[in-house]
Amino acid sequence: MAKDAPNERQTLAELAEASGVAVRTIRYYIARGLLPPPLVGGRGACYGGAHLERLASIQALQSQGLTLAQIAWRLGEGQPEPQLPQPSAWWNYPIARDVVVLVRSDAAPWRLKRVRSLIVQMAAQLGSEENKEESDAR
């Protein structure tokens, strides 16, 4: 974005009036990274002509049917947004007071069967050890 001369700077309310975009919506765009933060923060927070241009671009792209997420990508000059890895679900087996076993839920059925059988064995082993510790302590 081009630098703005001090006499082009305006408050958030003025920017909202000039652009026709609500003040709250402008803050929302900043939080989503669609619009840069104010040129100067604090009590004298101000915005420049580039903010106004960016708001006009957003409105134009919205009228073409793009969502804010798509606009963020488009205005980011083709830079891919940080991507989350694909999520995966895990089974959670708390088998003792201090032991949890996590197993990927999409493991093959035959493997899950085998893993569960091992977990049962492990839980039984840990359980008997805990009982022994408790009786020793008594």
Binding site: L12, A13, V21, A22, V23, R24, T25, R27, Y28, I30, A31, P37, P38, G41, G42, R43, A45, Q62, Q64, G65, L66, T67, L68, A69, Q70, W73, R74, P80, E81, P82, Q83, L84, P85, Q86, P87, N92, P94, V100, L102
Partner: protein, 807 residues
């Protein structure tokens, strides 16, 4: 990873850090009181900032039916501030000024379609703020009880101009056009609501009649008994996730008129009256003119569309030859069965059955077109339109305007979380119809048959109400234009300080009648609540007619300004918010400094559990992000034209689905065999759709001939089969006045009582008369339906005669 995963199965984590996600809103808790006429609720929102800079949180929600917002109280460390009601523009300015100065500011603003943004700005790092929002809502009143529904989540809505995207896997976004919805901000929709804010409720119920039962098809309840007319209900688990609406059913033991009276804050005596439909008499036998409007949009895919089709087939079974019917199936476009209405004869019904069988779920929800097509089918004849839909649509004010102008009476059956209770209620009420809602866990077909049994033949119409014996009495809003079976009339009004007098209700058709209800009940202490419930009804009605002042034609603009001014005047008179008046509060905390711009975040919501995520959001292979693991779908006018349907249309394999078009020759042993030994239904179906008595009754209902009897080769066969069908309905509790199949029972009785049956001999006639007399005395055989249908018809008849004339 420093996360305790031993206490919970799932937790939302930040992918980059593995730390738990900070929820801006942590809890939504519903408290308050439900009355026969409406509810007065407090919704508790707990916000907490985990950010390092000031936080602005936006929570979007939809208003329940007949709802209005009264006030909120915002509390935190060292402060407790009550909101003020101000014109929306002024309230928004006050909010922004507060934010600018670094104060804690809160704005509650209502938009079109009953959407609301609750915005809390400048929450400090680690600060907890609680907003208690007071809401007045309506209830779905029945003759003997009520259904209460409150949205714990927000369903996506269909709008032609909406932009949607699957933002990341399982997370969708919808943006509505600004020219209609101004700066409304909608949340992100999470396919999996686990990890979102917790929800719960604790509500008291006070009815005018003894309560028989309180239940919920949506949530597990704990019910505490009070006296006969009071209960307290709480969520049974400690908390729930926001992925479905709360639905409560309250059944009372009696059904009789009730009036609550109390002094309002303005000093006037306020009253609310509930008059059950049966107080107005019996349904007339006039011919019906009905058009069925069936939503076949993609979200109806699977069980809902099959159940709706079966329901329509059963409704057709009620029609007599002099009745007239039409069908409109709609998605993005409306398709009609023929070009007008059809007589209810066998041929038309069979053709309609074929039309229904070809219907598949697909596309969007263009309800306005469908209603217009239905009105066109009815032509100049007055008639009823029954709308069966699960869709939530935007731009409802325009649809309502079109429906009102159409002049037909609309009755609505809303299915599932996405059906818009507020809109469908308005659509029915403003056109003189009734509205019902079913959850996805209930049977659509029975609800549709039940609703159909009520409509088309009002018990009373051209109602007029006034107060006698008390000066200065008013009744607002006006009484409904017609009364239908099962739907009571609710009236709100007021008299002078000492006025008592009588409430008079008169009606002109089908026969004139008059009810007198004394207003001398002792003060209930609920006068102010009654005034607010009256106000919320009036404001909802007025709000639904207001399109905003940006309409194109100058004449319309003038009319809209008038409506807007009336809305504002109502808001000021009742102290309730509307689109013209909003709630605002600014809290000046010690140490507030104008400073950093607040970081704005929107509270995500869970996708309603019965709504297909893919029906509204879809990923695209043509992603603009070529390198990402996932990308954004192209701009999509939703919903997608062809949906990947992950709800298997199991009902398609039901033998019953084909029964309407067939001429089943036997209804006894052969029918039983079809269900027990026919196609491998059980192997394909989950437990919840196993064939029950209702399926058998639906099959019978579809087979009724236009004269009201069952089919057969000769008089004797028709009489015996009709008697067996009648017994089947009676065994399951359906009579001429009660149960979803009451109209079918009436038709069968009428057929057996009035048909000539020239080929019956004297003995057979005597047996038939004896059987009918026995049934008319309120008797029903103590048999199981399964047994009845297993017997040969003649055996069933022999057994019946042994009951009727014991040796």
């Amino acid at each position: 990873m420093p996360v305790d995963t031993t206490t919970c199965g799932f937790m939302a984590l930040r992918a980059e850090s593995g730390k738990p996600i900070q929820l801006a809103m942590q809890q939504l808790w519903l408290q308050g009181r439900i009355l026969p006429f409406g509810a007065r609720l407090i919704v508790r929102h707990v916000f907490r900032s985990g950010e390092t800079q000031p936080l602005e949180v936006i929570y979007a929600f939809a208003m329940p039916r007949d709802a209005a917002l009264r006030q909120f109280v915002i509390t935190g460390e060292g402060f407790r501030v009550r909101s003020r009601l101000k014109p929306t523009e002024e309230a928004a300015k006050e909010y922004e000024a507060g934010i600018q100065e670094g104060h804690l500011a809160t704005l509650v603003r209502q938009y079109g379609d009953g959407m609301v943004n609750l915005t809390v700005g400048n929450i400090r790092p680690n600060e907890t703020v609680v907003v208690l929002l007071e809401v007045l809502t309506g209830v779905e009143a029945h003759d003997a009880g009520l259904r209460f529904r409150f949205p714990f989540t927000l369903a996506p809505s269909y709008h032609r101009g909406a932009r949607t995207v699957e933002f990341e896997p399982g997370v969708g976004e919808i943006e509505l056009p600004e020219e209609e919805f101004d700066d409304l901000i909608l949340p992100r929709y999470h396919q999996d609501a686990t990890g979102l804010h917790e929800v719960g409720f604790s509500l008291s119920i006070t009815m005018a009649q003894p309560i028989a039962e309180v239940s919920s098809p949506s949530h597990a309840l704990r019910v505490k008994m009070g006296d006969d007319q009071c209960r307290r209900v709480m969520l049974s688990p400690a908390r729930e996730v926001p992925d479905r609406d709360l639905v409560l059913d309250v059944a009372t033991r009696e059904s009789k008129p009730c009036i609550l009276v109390g002094a309002g804050k303005d000093g006037r005596r306020r009253f609310a009256a509930l008059v059950p439909s049966r107080a107005f008499g019996e349904t007339s036998a006039a011919p019906r003119h009905v058009v069925f409007v069936l939503d076949r949009s993609g979200s109806m895919c699977g069980i809902p569309i099959e159940q709706a089709k079966k329901a329509l087939a059963a409704c057709l079974g009620v029609l007599a030859a002099d009745d007239e019917f039409g069908i409109v199936a709609f998605d993005n476009r409306a398709e009609t069965f023929g070009s007008g209405v059809h007589k209810g004869d066998r041929r038309s019904r069979d053709e309609a059955g074929k039309f229904l069988a070809a219907i598949e779920a697909r596309g969007g929800t263009e309800l306005a077109q469908a209603v217009a097509a239905a009105v066109k089918l009815l032509g100049h004849s007055a008639g009823d339109i029954l709308v069966i839909t699960d869709g939530q649509v935007s731009g409802t004010e325009q649809i309502l305007g079109g429906a009102r102008a159409g002049g037909a009476r609309l009755h609505c059956l809303g299915i599932g979380s996405a059906s818009q209770d507020r809109f469908l209620t308005l659509l029915a009420r403003q056109t003189g119809g009734v509205c019902r809602f079913v959850t996805p866990r209930e049977r659509v077909d029975l609800a549709a048959v039940d609703l159909f049994a009520s409509i088309g033949r009002p018990i009373a119409s051209e109602l007029e109400a006034h107060i006698e014996g008390a000066e200065g009495g008013h009744i607002t809003p006006d009484p409904p234009s017609a009364v239908f079976v099962g739907a009571p009339v609710i009236l709100f009004g007021d008299t002078g300080q000492n006025g008592q007098g009588q409430l008079i209700i008169k009606w002109a058709k089908p026969q004139s009648g008059r009810l007198e209800l004394p207003l001398d009940a002792p003060d209930s202490g609920l006068g102010e609540t009654l005034r607010l419930l009256q106000g919320s009804r009036l404001i909802t009605d007025s709000d639904s007619r207001y399109l905003g002042e940006t309409v194109e034609r100058a004449l319309d603009r003038h009319e809209q300004k008038r409506l807007g001014d009336r809305l504002q005047a109502l808001s000021e008179a009742y102290g309730l918010a509307s689109r013209r008046m909003s709630l605002v509060a600014v809290v000046e905390r010690a140490g507030d400094q104008p400073g950093d711009i607040a970081k704005t975040t929107v509270v995500p919501v869970g996708m309603p559990q019965d709504v297909l995520f893919g029906a509204y959001f879809r990923r695209s292979s043509g992603s603009p992000n070529a390198t990402g693991a996932f990308g954004f779908a192209p701009p999509m006018v939703m919903p997608s034209p062809s949906l990947p349907c992950d709800r298997t249309p199991r009902s398609a394999s039901y033998p019953i689905a084909h029964a309407a078009a067939s001429t089943v020759s036997r209804i006894s042993s052969s029918m039983r065999k079809r269900f027990r030994h026919g196609k491998p239904v059980e192997a394909e179906k989950p437990l919840e759709t196993a064939l029950g008595p209702e399926d058998l009754l639906l099959d019978l209902a579809q087979q009724l001939e236009p004269d009201g009897g069952m089919p057969g080769k000769n008089d004797f066969e028709r009489v015996v089969r009709s008697l067996v069908a009648l017994l089947a309905f009676l065994i399951e509790g359906h009579t001429t006045t009660a149960g979803a199949f009451r109209t079918h029972v009436q038709r069968l009785m009428h057929f057996l009582e009035t048909s000539a049956f020239g080929s019956l001999n004297t003995q057979q006639r005597r047996s038939l008369n004896d059987a009918l007399e026995w049934i008319k005395k309120g008797n029903a055989p103590p048999w199981k339906l399964d047994d009845l249908l297993a017997w040969e018809e003649t055996e069933a008849l022999d057994r019946l005669m042994r009951l009727v004339t014991p040796p």
